[in-house]
């Protein structure tokens, strides 16, 4: 029961309090780049969540069973990024072969994920925070869902921005960042809630 509570806290805090995009600034590029339309945002968000979960499931055992055991902790960065790149490649190939429909929905976003710092970030953070395998999975799921949530919320805002007349210097990225700032401000309101959820 206690363990279950810890998992819930990890999950909820990575969705809301420590939202990777809005509070820790990881995965800003796709957040700004692929949030113009709702279907794009959902596709990217789901793809990132899947890759985060898979990457964590693979990197955690490798770090603990291989790198740490051999005293090769310093290879973490190289190994993790290669694993993520390989996973993304395999996933893309599989999707293209097995489900063309899913591929058009999700697969096209996959090549953009290799250099998504949120994925590398979540795998390294899970190791640094000393999470167990199950906790790491909860944290990866939470981060992915948090990313999805931020993308979906933001795509709603973006479609309104596109219809307004904005002074020239602010057009494009500037106004997008300022809008993101407001969403981030709203997320600050979650601070301190999750920790006390079982108190």
């Amino acid at each position: 029961m206690e363990q279950f509570k810890i998992l819930i806290v990890i999950l909820l805090s990575s969705v809301f309090v420590d939202n990777y995009v809005l509070c820790r600034f990881l995965g800003i590029c796709p957040f700004l780049g692929v949030s113009k339309k709702l279907n794009q945002a959902v596709g990217m968000g789901v793809a990132v969540t899947v890759v985060m979960l898979l990457a964590t499931a693979v990197t955690w055992p490798i770090q603990h069973l291989v790198l740490n055991a051999l005293g090769l902790g310093y290879l973490q960065n190289i190994v993790f990024i290669l694993i993520i790149a390989t996973l993304v490649q395999i996933l893309e190939m599989l999707l293209r072969r097995l489900s063309p429909a899913l591929y058009t929905g999700l697969g096209v976003y996959l090549p953009l994920i290799t250099t998504n710092c949120a994925v590398l970030g979540v795998t390294i953070n899970n190791i640094n925070d000393g999470y167990s395998f199950v906790e790491s999975a909860a944290s990866a799921l939470g981060c992915g869902l948090g990313f999805l949530l931020a993308m979906v919320l933001f795509s709603g805002l973006r479609s309104r921005i596109d219809e307004t007349n904005i002074p020239a210097p602010f057009r494009g990225l500037a106004v997008t960042l300022i809008a993101a700032s407001f969403i981030s401000l709203a997320f600050m309101g979650f601070g301190g809630i999750v920790e006390n959820i079982f108190a």
Partner: protein
């Protein structure tokens, strides 16, 4: 390569093609490490060293690295230099290591570095690649420091840790928080755009394919790609 040319390679990154404020690359560290000037400078310099080393190394090996395997090779080289820089920082600047945290590791996925490898280092000489690395790194560092100065001076009434007494009662704590970073970044980009009057450099030369940011890029050559994605 004549002198004038090499100078332009160096200054390109600082002004005309500033990676952070004009090309809008490497947004994550720009937002995350600019709460303090010290952190921003540290991140900028660390990224610059990685950029310089990876540019030189990739340029050296540009004839050896096979075309089809180039991206994995670049990634391994970059990740390797990132780890070396990380170990050095941890050994000699433990305070900075604490400040930067996971963002030091994430230099690996900084679009600037992979972008320069892909678009410059594998086509140019070692010397030019080195200059390009320094120029881009300086541009990144300067932009980060400028943003950090705004956030730290007005947000925490201090500069690189030294407190500024007369601002102490007028701090805007919001600026040091996450939304403040996004806001300042947005305003800075608008400012740069206003100054350059939108005459952003036309750059077919820069890697947009590796940057998911393309959809919101001002640069017309980029935007098409992102919209399709």
């Amino acid at each position: 390569m004549n002198k004038k040319n090499s100078l332009s390679v160096l200054t390109n990154g600082i002004l005309k093609e500033n990676p952070t404020l004009v090309l809008i690359l490497g947004t994550c560290p720009t937002l995350a490490t600019t709460t303090t000037v010290t952190g921003a400078l540290g991140m900028g310099i660390a990224a610059m060293i990685v950029l310089l080393c990876s540019n030189v190394f990739i340029s050296l090996l540009r004839k050896v690295i096979p075309e089809t395997m180039r991206i994995p090779c670049y990634i391994v080289i970059i990740a390797g230099f990132v780890t070396i820089v990380k170990m050095l920082v941890q050994a000699f600047f433990p305070g900075l290591y604490e400040t930067l945290g996971v963002y030091l590791d994430l230099i690996t996925v900084n679009c600037i570095i992979l972008g320069r490898a892909e678009m410059f280092a594998n086509k140019n000489s070692v010397a030019a690649s080195a200059l390009d690395g320094i120029g881009m790194g300086l541009g990144f560092t300067l932009a980060l420091t400028a943003m950090a100065t705004i956030r730290e001076v007005f947000g925490a009434a201090s500069f690189a840790g030294a407190s500024i007494p007369f601002l102490e009662n007028y701090t805007i704590a919001f600026l040091t928080k996450a939304p403040g970073g996004l806001l300042v970044y947005g305003l800075l980009i608008a400012l740069v755009y206003a100054i350059t009057k939108g005459k952003a450099p036309a750059k077919t030369s820069f890697s947009c394919s590796g940057c998911p940011n393309a959809a919101t890029c001002h640069i017309e050559t980029c935007s098409g790609k992102g919209d399709e994605a």
